[in-house]
């Protein structure tokens, strides 16, 4: 077995570039900073690829299952006799796959950003944050234990916060969005933390290898209802999933994701499409044996949350006009797919089809969604607007962007032979075998996806002839090359033999396309595309008429089903006005008032006693004599 200690460098290189750029970045030339960041990430990418090759192929004897390897581990914090937090590197199929995904997308985004962020005042700051994010994300996927994951989980959250709020000089909305993203995910992280606390209390370990061992203590102790009919293990996994749902923008924690689009577009591509938002999926996948063997009820929750989120987001995506928000809801919808796939999966062999499909989709989605975002970035770069209404007929001006965007749209719509077809098909098969209702939902979502993606595509590149103030021009090479690379990935990633590589128990299994499921799914994709073509290829009044006839549904979907308003109501009205303000008032007036009242009473008593000290000799003498008489009376006659 190959030695993987060098994989430690994969997260560490971005960390050092972060330190370098963070401390000295403002003294460098911007291009210098960009190059340092990019080359650092490039080095990580090369290491990640070599790790992947040696793990999956060269260092692996064919036919044996893939095992998880602890390449490196140091104790970081000793807690109790049983619990110690370690920092380390865990190499197994999903972490290696994630390494490839993250370093690839991140490298593309780095290269792209050199062009996209050119001339920005905070150029080096931007790259240092990108490095920080890459470091945290890599650390997250390499975590050997759940607590290390939590540590990097938080770091990922904060780098997301910093990058969304990157435009804080100019845009108050970006500040608000970054705050919202952080607080919503933080709230979900509380669930994660509680889940970790419960899990570690029950099992006495943080370590993934121990936890996910099918014969280990975590799974062995699963039985027994503890609270509301579910076992403690189930509860702790549900809490952990709450954390995952927060990061992965699952309903009802999705509200931060559309707002997060206020950040720079490369950031959206990297964090809010390809890597960070799938952390929730990765988390569930990481703990999958525990879910599948120890707490199927929790997995059931995962499946339904995922299924509902995918439908919910797809409906909203059909009505949005901001191209990045359409993509954001699309991301949410696709992650819902992945969650669902995990939720319907079983453990081991063919049973684990959903697990494989989920990771497969994660992989392909990272490629095509990053491509979509970067393409959208190129469009925004050209027309300086996010609104679909400001665009149209751009195919002549932006040929490269147009072609790559089309490829991405076909991929996400699930048209063969693009990669999306393969991964989505596996998910549908898994759902079909597990739960027919969920299958129906996903089937519908597949159609909706094709529809809204092509609505977007036609809205940008076809449609009306918009008059631009200055002619839009194609993005520079440094931006288009990453597009082409990702387009290449989107086309061919589907041919990777995922069923041999990434499976729930490490053993490969045979998988073939189930035409019974595949043909209808391609058909519904085509139907979606056709409808979109009819409605949006040429400018027409039909879409508005349809929207008018579905008045309420359209309005509700357009306003994202008013979930934001509910949150605002809860935070502004309830927490702020009915909790914090009264507490602050209570503190100032009741608690502090009591203290001041005690002080005031002392002063009052002093004034009362002060009157006795009148300075009148007679009064003193009288009191003295009376006192003496009374004392004599008491002590001589009464006692």
């Amino acid at each position: 077995m190959a030695d993987f200690t060098y994989t430690l460098l994969i997260p560490l290189i971005p960390f050092f570039t972060f330190l370098l750029l963070g401390l000295a970045g403002h003294k460098m030339k911007p291009i210098m900073a960009g190059l340092i960041g990019t080359s650092g990430l490039g080095a990580s990418a090369i290491l990640a690829y070599s790790a992947a090759i040696s793990y999956f192929w060269t260092g692996h004897s064919a036919g044996t299952p893939y095992t998880s390897i602890k390449a490196f581990e140091i104790p970081w914090l000793h807690l109790t006799d049983k619990l110690t937090i370690h920092l380390g590197v865990l190499i197994d199929p999903i972490s290696v796959m994630m390494l490839v995904v993250i370093t690839t997308v991140s490298l593309m985004v780095h290269i792209y950003s050199i062009g996209y962020m050119k001339g920005d005042t905070g150029f080096s700051r931007f790259f240092s944050f990108l490095s920080l994010f890459s470091f945290s994300m890599l650390g997250l996927v390499l975590a050997t234990n759940i607590f290390q994951m939590y540590i990097f989980w938080e770091l990922v959250g904060v780098s997301s916060f910093l990058l969304i709020g990157y435009y804080y000089y100019e845009k108050p909305s970006a500040v608000a969005a970054s705050k919202k993203a952080f607080i919503v995910t933080r709230f979900a992280d509380l669930g994660f933390l509680i889940g970790i606390l419960m899990l570690s209390f029950n099992t006495g370990t943080f370590d993934f290898q121990t936890l996910t061992d099918p014969h280990g203590p975590a799974i062995a102790q699963a039985g027994g209802a503890a609270f509301m009919g579910l076992s403690l293990l189930t509860w702790s996994l549900i809490f952990i999933f709450v954390g995952g749902a927060g990061k992965s923008a699952m309903f009802p924690f999705h509200i931060w994701l559309p707002d997060a689009m206020e950040g720079p577009t490369p950031v959206s591509a990297l964090i809010h499409a390809a890597t960070m938002v799938v952390a929730g999926v990765y988390l569930v996948a990481r703990l999958f044996p525990v879910f599948a063997l120890g707490a199927p009820d929790a997995l059931y929750v995962v499946a339904w949350i995922g299924g509902f989120s995918s439908l919910f987001a797809a409906v909203i995506a059909c009505t949005q006009t901001d191209i990045k928000r359409v993509l954001a809801f699309s991301t949410m919808s696709q992650i819902g797919y992945m969650m669902l796939a995990l939720g319907v999966s079983g453990y081991g062999g063919e049973e684990g089809l959903g697990f494989m499909a989920s990771n497969f989709h994660l992989f392909t989605h990272a490629m095509f969604k990053a491509l979509l975002f970067l393409g959208a970035g190129a469009v925004i770069h050209a027309v300086h607007s996010n609104e679909i209404g400001d665009m149209g007929n751009l195919r002549k001006f932006l040929p490269v962007t147009h072609i790559t965007f089309l490829i991405a749209c076909l991929t996400i719509a699930g048209i063969p032979p693009f990669s999306g077809f393969f991964s989505k098909d596996e998910i549908l098969v898994a759902a079909f075998h597990s739960n027919k209702l969920l299958f129906a939902i996903e089937y519908l979502v597949a159609g909706l996806t094709a529809f809204y993606m092509f609505r977007l595509y036609y809205g940008i590149f076809w449609g009306k002839n918009t008059h631009y103030h200055h002619t839009p021009h194609e993005a520079p090479k440094v931006m288009t090359i990453p597009l082409m690379i990702l387009a290449f990935g989107s086309v061919f990633a589907g041919f990777l033999p995922f069923h041999d590589l990434v499976t729930s128990d490490g053993k490969g299994f045979e998988s073939a396309i189930d035409w019974f499921v595949a043909i209808p799914s391609v058909l519904i994709g085509v139907v979606g595309i056709v409808i979109a073509t009819i409605l949006y290829k040429k400018e027409s009044a039909m879409p508005d008429r349809i929207a008018g006839s579905l008045k309420y549904l359209h309005r509700w979907a357009h306003r994202k089903f008013y979930i934001d308003e509910v949150y605002l109501f809860v935070t502004r009205k309830i927490i702020f006005r009915y909790i914090s303000v009264p507490i602050a008032w209570f503190d100032r007036h009741i608690v502090d008032g009591t203290m001041n009242g005690i002080a005031g009473m002392t002063v009052y008593a002093a004034y009362a006693v002060k009157g006795l000290q009148s300075g009148k000799l007679h009064q003193y003498a009288f009191v003295f004599v009376s006192g003496a008489v009374i004392l004599v009376l008491i002590f001589v006659y009464l006692v």
């Binding site: 770091l155 904060v158 970054s178 607080i183 933390l193 606390l197 602050a584 608690v591």
Partner: protein, 504 residues
């Protein structure tokens, strides 16, 4: 002669030297040198402590020194440190050093200011090195009293009111504490002629349970007032808002830690049975502190008030963890004390620096400061992130140790209340980000702010030394928690033994 004596001698010498100086320039230089030496000394102490332990010295207290100074009542000047006090001393060294640099431009009565500040510091140092309850109390009072002058003379806003309030409330705490300490003294030995104030000797005695029940609330609340225990925390917002920068730093940074340290070193250590019985009451109070302080901080508009309420929340967590009475949670309490001390000192230093530039502390009047004072802005963000428990900074380490430790408690009540306390991490994020968003980001609201200078060199020293300490603990907590763990072991063993006998 133990090295610990130097911690008292150096401040005295520094004060003497300041008396000889004439103006700000000289007095601040002398103070900086004196406290710099003190800080280095505290690091040396950490080093010596670790080498001593590595050499196999297993005594509970090291570097002990004992001199009888009032034979009639058997009061000793007894010194000694374990890993916990060593850590607290290092914290104090750093914060005091940073505090001197934060008051580099103290033009009003500089000599008197620095003298009071250093007396305060020496009280704190003395408290941490004492193992005689009486000497401890003496140093405690020595630390509290200069506060009155420091706020009353050099403060701002309603300073007389705040100084009076702070001093009176802390004195009320001392009064309760004195009852507790004297009670402990009178039951420190079955032989009425062998009464002692020595902590280590008392710990070998079992104070009668009915006396413990009576004395524990006095001692715990007495220390708890200084540790901002709800509902005795209200001196904190007013006091901090009025105090000058360095005083806020020292007060929130180290003085409030005397409360937590004392609560655990005296109240729980000496009266474990009563602590065990009554912990639930105080756990509820501290959990309220934690959540309530955080909620109050959300709606405040004055930077110092925000930070003061945040201190209430964080210090509440210290007492909370202490009351959990298991090794991990207590370890977390100590780390939280150090972490909060550094963070809050950094916050107050930054607030002072920002206030010195903008002449306002109301967040609504400021905005976009990141653009004009990037250094201070970045450090403020770092402090904020540390405060909301971001990994890589000390706050995260402390909170996680506390939560995990507390959650290991066998009792369901304790685990449920841990979740309540843990929910504060969300609320903390809300108020920290609210401030960062309004204060540092967004548009600049006042043209006057366009011409602010960024941090001067002395301000950089002050902030960077604190940031370094915060990140050092955050990145490599292992050595610190190990050092504390070793010293907690005897305390926890005592707790465990006694809990068994009293429960069954």
């Amino acid at each position: 002669m133990s090295i610990l004596n130097l911690f008292i001698i150096i401040p005295i010498l520094t004060v003497g030297a300041i008396l000889l100086t004439r103006d700000l320039k000289h007095s601040r230089l002398v103070s900086a040198i004196g406290m710099g030496v003190q800080m280095i000394l505290s690091f040396v102490l950490v080093y010596l402590y670790l080498t001593e332990r590595a050499a196999g010295n297993t005594a509970t207290m090291l570097f002990t020194y004992d001199a009888l100074w009032f034979p009639t009542l058997n009061i000793h000047y007894a010194l000694g440190v374990d890993g916990i006090s060593v850590a607290m001393i290092a914290l104090t060294g750093i914060v005091v050093f940073a505090g001197i640099f934060a008051s580099w431009k103290m033009t009003h009565l500089p000599r008197e200011f620095f003298i009071s500040l250093i007396i305060l510091a020496s009280g704190v140092f003395g408290f941490f090195i004492s193992i005689d309850l009486f000497t401890m109390f003496l140093f405690y009072e020595l630390a509290v009293i200069p506060m009155y002058l420091l706020i009353g003379i050099w403060g701002s806003g309603p300073k007389e009111y705040s100084a009076m309030k702070l001093t009176l409330m802390l004195m009320a705490g001392s009064a309760l504490l004195l009852v507790g300490l004297l009670g402990i003294y009178f039951f420190s030995s079955p032989d009425p002629h062998a009464l002692t104030f020595n902590l280590m000797e008392i710990s070998k005695v079992r104070i009668p349970i009915h006396m413990q029940r009576f004395l524990f609330p006095f001692t715990f609340v007495g220390f708890g007032i200084l540790g901002a225990l709800f509902p005795f925390h209200t001196w904190s917002p007013d006091g901090h808002a009025s105090a000058p920068t360095a005083v806020s730093m020292l007060h929130a940074g180290v003085l409030m830690k005397l409360g937590g340290y004392g609560a655990f070193r005296v109240a729980i250590f000496l009266m474990p049975e009563a602590a065990h019985e009554q912990a639930w009451i105080f756990l509820i109070l501290t959990a309220i502190s934690v959540v309530y302080g955080a909620f109050s901080a959300i709606v405040q508009t004055d930077l110092k008030y925000i930070n003061a309420y945040s201190s209430v929340s964080h210090c509440g967590l210290v007492l909370f963890a202490v009351l959990m009475m298991n090794q991990t949670a207590m370890n977390g309490a100590i780390v939280q004390m150090i972490s909060h001390g550094l963070m809050t000192a950094l916050f107050f230093a930054l607030i002072g620096m920002i206030y010195g530039r903008t002449h306002t502390r109301l967040i609504n009047e400021m905005g976009g400061l990141m653009k004009v004072i990037p250094f201070l802005g970045v450090v403020y963000v770092i402090a904020g992130l540390a405060s909301l428990g971001l990994p890589g900074f000390s706050g995260f380490v402390a909170e996680m140790i506390i939560f995990i430790g507390a959650f290991q408690h066998v009792d369901v009540f304790h685990r449920v209340i841990t979740i309540v306390a843990a929910s504060s991490i969300v609320i903390t994020a809300v108020y920290i980000l609210r401030v960062v968003g309004i204060l540092l980001m967004g548009p600049i609201k006042n043209d006057h702010f366009l011409h602010l200078d960024d941090a001067k060199w002395y301000e950089r020293i002050s902030t960077i030394s604190l940031v370094l300490a915060i990140t050092a603990i955050g990145l490599a907590p292992y050595w610190l928690t190990n050092m504390i763990d070793y010293s907690l072991a005897p305390i926890v063993e005592k707790l465990a033994a006694i809990q068994l006998t009293s429960l069954f």
